[in-house]
């Protein structure tokens, strides 16, 4: 809100014909700010061009550059392997799309179970705690190998013998433990006075969680959750150890045929193409949240 100004400002306003409700900025200061904005932009662009030129010249003149270019950035190898890689990458995307919702369900369930107060749930609480401790402590790759090769070897009746299924299960178990901890931190981040206010209205413990605590908890942990999603997108490549031809395995096959490592670089590009929009989306979401609710939570 603008307060009525002091006498000189009011006089200047009257002279400039600006409405009294508008914020007033000295015209000289406006011109200075515009000039500074242009100058800053120009300096930034010139600095960028000079740096890029110098770095490019240095790299290109380095004696080994042509060998590097041929091995990692060969246009022929790239265009030859890319369609196959893209097709294989679709499998990574599917693994991700199936695993992610399951991870969210497992994570949220485990986090909620760990918060249950009633003594009758003690066994469940212990189970949830042990699960988180175990699966956060074991490397994801190890879990994938253990389930992917181990379970089909048991030849259990009714259990799927498709290694891919067990690869996805392993990812869900491994990431579910992480996500459970993220959710738990989110629940703890909601100030106890919020729970007290909800209970004082007569809301039950369950209603308090459902309508007051969890919505705030999930908002608070959206950025770290999306961070885990990005990590999961990359870790879909770990399933390649079980044999399914996803993008990393495909790149490996291509590279071993041609003795050229460009397919690996192409596969890397595919992962980046998927994770960068996700990262920007996370940033945007955080920024929007910050704007919507001012400085943050009032307690």
């Amino acid at each position: 809100m603008t307060e009525p100004g002091s006498a000189p400002v009011a006089a200047a306003r009257a002279g400039s014909g600006v409405s009294a409700d508008m914020p007033y900025v000295d015209p000289a200061r406006v011109r200075y700010r515009q000039r500074k904005a242009w100058r800053d932009a120009a300096i930034g662009i010139i600095s960028l061009i000079v740096t890029a030129t110098v770095v490019t010249l240095i790299v290109v003149r380095t004696p080994g550059w042509s060998a590097v270019q041929e091995t990692f950035f060969s246009p022929e190898a790239f265009s030859e392997s890319f369609p196959g890689l893209l097709e294989a990458f679709w499998l990574n995307v599917r693994i991700f799309l199936i695993a992610e919702p399951l991870i969210l369900i497992v994570g949220l369930t485990v986090a909620l179970v760990r918060r249950l107060k009633s003594p009758i749930f003690l066994p469940l609480r212990i189970l949830a705690t042990v699960y988180v401790d175990v699966f956060r402590g074991v490397p994801t790759l190890l879990v994938i190998l253990l389930l992917g090769f181990g379970v089909p070897a048991l030849q259990l009746q009714g259990a799927p013998d498709e290694v891919l299924v067990w690869g996805v299960v392993a990812l869900v178990l491994s990431y579910g433990a992480y996500v459970a901890e993220v959710f738990r931190a989110g629940i703890d981040s909601v100030h106890p006075s919020q729970r007290m206010a909800a209970r004082s209205l007569g809301l039950s413990s369950w209603q308090t969680n459902r309508f007051v605590v969890l919505p705030q908890a999930v908002r608070n942990v959206t950025p770290p959750l999306l961070n885990d999603f990005i990590s999961l997108q990359k870790d879909t490549a770990l399933v390649s150890v079980l044999g399914p031809i996803e993008v990393l395995r495909q790149a490996q096959i291509d590279a071993s045929f041609t003795f050229n490592y460009t397919p690996y670089v192409a596969a890397a590009c595919l992962f980046i193409a998927l994770t960068i929009p996700m990262t920007r989306f996370t940033d945007w979401l955080q920024e929007r949240q910050r704007r919507q609710r001012g400085s943050g939570f009032a307690t």
Binding site: S193, A197, A198, R199, S200, G202, L203, Q292, G294
Partner: protein, 246 residues
């Protein structure tokens, strides 16, 4: 005398080794405004939280309408809280909900009112407290005084029999205290039963039916505002009041 809405009988409450309430007694009659005064730590807030069942007592009883025992082991506290509303010093509005949703949540989920019905009631109350334009805002966009008035509306919307105010102006800019106290006056006019912990002596003098001075976990002195605030008998009361005048 009208019927007793609330009676506190010899209630004890301690936190760790610190005894906050030491056998306190208090009676509140219907349509009365009872103001609790006393130094920080004298047990005002703790007493209010015990009445609403937010803190379990260690000993003693708290009765509503000379019948329902808040402190009995088997009492459904959600049922108690439906009848006894509380407003906190720090507002405690739900930051992820609009003002309107803050006020309708309890009505819909606890009282089972329809969305239409609870929104109508919320808008009527908001209008009465000069907040009709804030229905769609998030709490963080409001001033402290506005947030506290929304918190009052949220409690009043539940149609409580008794309202508890826990130092509701203590977190406010002095300029904003007046608008919140006006809201309390409005509720007094309407005949609500109110128990209010406050440091606003002027307001206590003018609006209270009865003033209780809490000291050392008991009501040390009680009476009309004139009796307690103008001509107190107890030395401790005089010392406490002197700090406000000095």
């Amino acid at each position: 005398m009208t019927t007793v809405s609330l009676s506190v009988e010899a209630v004890w409450k301690s936190f760790g080794s610190e005894s906050v309430l030491r056998g306190i007694d208090l009676n509140v009659h219907e349509h009365q405004v009872v103001v609790l005064i006393g130094a920080s730590g004298s047990g005002k807030s703790t007493l209010l939280k015990c009445i609403n069942g937010l803190e379990p007592v260690d000993a003693g009883r708290i009765l509503l309408d000379e019948g329902l025992d808040v402190t009995a082991f088997k009492t459904n506290l959600d049922a108690v809280r439906r009848r006894v509303g509380i407003v906190f010093q720090a507002y405690n509005l739900f930051p992820h909900m609009t003002v309107l949703d803050n006020i309708t949540l309890g009505q819909r989920k606890v009282l089972g009112r329809s969305r239409q019905e609870s929104e109508d009631r919320a808008r009527r109350l908001l209008a009465r407290f000069g907040l009709e334009e804030k229905a769609g805002e998030y709490p963080d966009r409001l001033s402290g005084g506005q947030q506290q008035r929304v918190a009052i509306v949220r409690a009043v919307a539940m149609s409580p029999e008794i309202l508890l105010f826990d130092e509701i102006t203590s977190a406010l800019d002095p300029l904003l205290v007046g608008e919140v106290l006006d809201a309390v006056r409005e509720l007094k006019e309407e005949g609500l039963t109110i128990v209010m912990a406050t440091h606003e002596m002027g307001f206590a003098r003018e609006a209270a039916d009865r003033v209780c001075f809490l000291d050392g976990g008991v009501v040390l002195e009680e009476g009309t505002p004139e009796q307690v605030l103008v001509a107190p008998h107890e030395q401790r009361t005089r010392e406490y009041l002197a700090r406000f005048l000095g």
